[in-house]
């Protein structure tokens, strides 16, 4: 992967040709996405009319599935910028850079984020000092919106620049949680909804209407419950890993989780694999969240059912763990 690119279009073309090679390996797939996104960053920096002063240090980080190294073939963009506090020109520069990156990612085949979690949004593009204040304010306010922002931020991973900035911001969160474990309860309360996917008689529940009739919504029924539950445990234990599998690996080594975590880790790995395998060339972003059940063997259906049921169990397990820590 050493090619250099001079336009987003050529990058997109190259990406589309190459990506199919990584269809059996989530890790390699995500390294490939990292590489592509970094290339977007390089092109974006070159596109800007203003030069970046070498003294303006910064970190460009991704969040969402990219932050967790869980991207499939297609995913939208979630990213932010943090930079050295101080000069006003720097602030203007990075916001412009953020806009260019977002545009570039979009052109390279990463659709804009509907929730506007992008470096082009001043909320996600700030000097370090303001970031710290913002995170403190989020934790203090504890509203649905600010806690959800915290959830999103907690998966951030630096792609370009200084990793220390993000580490420092996450340390703020960890310290706060130690002082006030109630924050974990809020994180839990704001991420409890699981789309129902197994009926009272153990049947798999699929979409009733629309283009995905008869398909199972993997994203909302399976991925999100696992990801959210594990993120809360990671926040509780102050883990620095961002990928759900790595977080589970770390948790597995801790005494209070070692018993349960193995099963959940296997489940999640299977989910990642399934998503890659179910990809069809004609898919657009929304399609990749759905699994066609017709193509599954009976044994696979049962496995899926167990994974979905375990998602609920994992949630209950996390609720108990958080309740205990609050006492």
């Amino acid at each position: 992967m050493e090619s250099s690119f001079n336009s987003y279009q050529s990058l997109k073309k190259w990406k589309e040709e190459q990506i199919i090679k990584y269809r059996y390996d989530t890790n390699a797939m995500n390294e490939f996405h990292d590489f592509t996104m970094k290339a977007v960053f390089t092109i974006a920096s070159e596109q800007l009319k203003i030069e970046r002063s070498p003294s303006w240090r910064f970190a460009w980080f991704t969040m969402g599935s990219s932050g967790r190294k869980e991207q499939g073939f297609l995913s939208d963009q979630d990213h932010g910028l943090v930079f050295e506090p101080g000069k006003e020109e720097a602030e203007a520069y990075f916001l412009q850079l953020g806009e260019e990156i977002s545009r570039g990612l979009h052109e390279a085949g990463y659709p804009y984020c509907e929730g506007k979690v992008m470096s082009s949004n001043p909320l996600w593009c700030k000097p370090l000092s303001k970031w710290k204040r913002q995170i403190q304010a989020w934790m203090k306010e504890e509203s649905l919106e600010t806690i959800r922002n915290l959830h999103i931020f907690y998966d951030s991973r630096v792609l370009v620049g200084k990793e220390e900035y993000i580490a420092e911001l996450k340390t703020c969160i960890h310290k706060n949680i130690q002082k006030c474990p109630h924050l974990l309860t809020r994180m839990l309360e704001t991420s409890m909804h699981i789309k129902k996917s197994v009926g009272p008689f153990g049947q798999l529940l699929t979409e009733e209407k629309g283009e995905h009739q008869g398909e199972l919504d993997l994203k909302h029924a399976a991925f999100i419950p696992y990801v959210n539950a594990i993120r809360i445990l990671a926040a509780k234990e102050g883990l620095s890993e961002t990928s759900t599998i790595d977080r589970m690996g770390k948790l597995q080594k801790m005494k209070c989780y070692e018993e349960e975590m193995g099963k959940y880790k296997c489940n999640f790995a299977a989910l990642l694999e399934w998503r890659l395998q179910s990809y069809r060339q004609s898919d657009i972003y929304d399609d990749t969240h759905y699994l066609q059940l017709k193509s599954l063997l009976k044994s696979e259906r049962n496995e899926l059912k167990n994974i979905l049921k375990d998602g609920k169990k994992l949630q209950r397990f996390v609720i108990r763990a958080i309740e205990k820590s609050e006492v």
Binding site: S197, G199, P200, L205, E208, K209, G210, E211, G214
Partner: protein, 422 residues
Amino acid sequence: MDATFLMNSLWVMLGAILVIFMLGGFIMLEAGSTRMKNAGHIAGKTIFTFGLSSLVFWAVGFGFIFGDNANILVGLTNFFYSGAELEEMGLSSSVFFVFQLAFAGIAITIALGGFAERAKLSVYLIFTVLFSAIVYPVVAHWIWGGGWLAEHGKQDFAGSTVVHLTGAMAALAATILLKPRIGKFNKDGSANNIYGHNQVYTALGVLILWVGWFGFNAGSTLTVEDGFFGFVALNTNLAAGAGAVSALIISWVVMGKSDVPTMLNGALAGLVAITASCAFVDTWAAVVIGFVAGILVFYSVRFFEKRKIDDPIFALSVHGAAGVWGTLSTGFFATPELATVGKPGLFYGGGFEQLGVQFMGVAVSGLYAFAVSFIILAAAKKVLGGLRVSEEEEIMGLDLSEHGSYGYPEVFMAEENKRLSS
């Protein structure tokens, strides 16, 4: 004049008022289950077609159903009914007329439910006249006017077949000829949800229908004697309740969510089903009949959708499937004490005889209503150059395309408001 005659007249008049008020329920139910851009049209056409069908009923409908000198299809006296007292009624004949007129009005309203959101206004007009003249009266004559099904002892106390099935079969003919609404089905055959614009309207519509049903069923005793209407009302309410409960349960069991429109359909299906049997069965049977209707309606809706039949307000399932079940149910549950018409049902030692009569009644009546409605609509399609509004008009909404105004002007005339305020 004796007191019973007066009491009967009063009671049935109250029933007529309740049944006519059910139109309010249909307005809310249909408008709530469809989109805003058609709301004014749906509300307005319900009133208009009731008015029109009243005139047709007065001119020919009543005479066809209850007149003397009957042939195999209809009676042939009492056209342009004068209000004169008829023999052996036990209540004011004019009251009886108004009561029957109300039933005919409900039948056409059910039928027109299948036209929702895409038929031309002129089609409503033509179909209302012809349905009220030659579809409904024939079935009503057969079963209630002393026709051949009545002679077989066909049990249909208040009209599961006469009113609901007949209306639903006409709706089926219409949905088939009209084809699905734009956007209902995708190319790959999957269905989309075209959400109704106001679930509160829909629920309130169901409640109004539920209350009106006491006029429909209990009023059909046509007499206050022995207070039997109370028992009919009791059975009616039990079946509605059981339908609501079973529909909610089945939607939760199958889809994993407690679906409100399904539950509302369940209550209505319970009411439709108990309409035939409310005077012939025990209370426990009323609960069973309603319960089964609630489950049946859920599967019926899915059945029609799978076959790409677009039934916007579920008329086929609520009135059709439940109407069939309700009519057959007396063949199982009618008790020897209560079966004043026909014989006891299968579960009471009556064997298959009554069930056979019920089945024949459903099959012949349903087939007749479907075939004649289909012919009327197919002919109308030829004459009018199509039953549907144009694609453009359908998208624009029937409020504007058929009436030039809006049920919700503030929403749809926002452009106008913008212009004025700028």
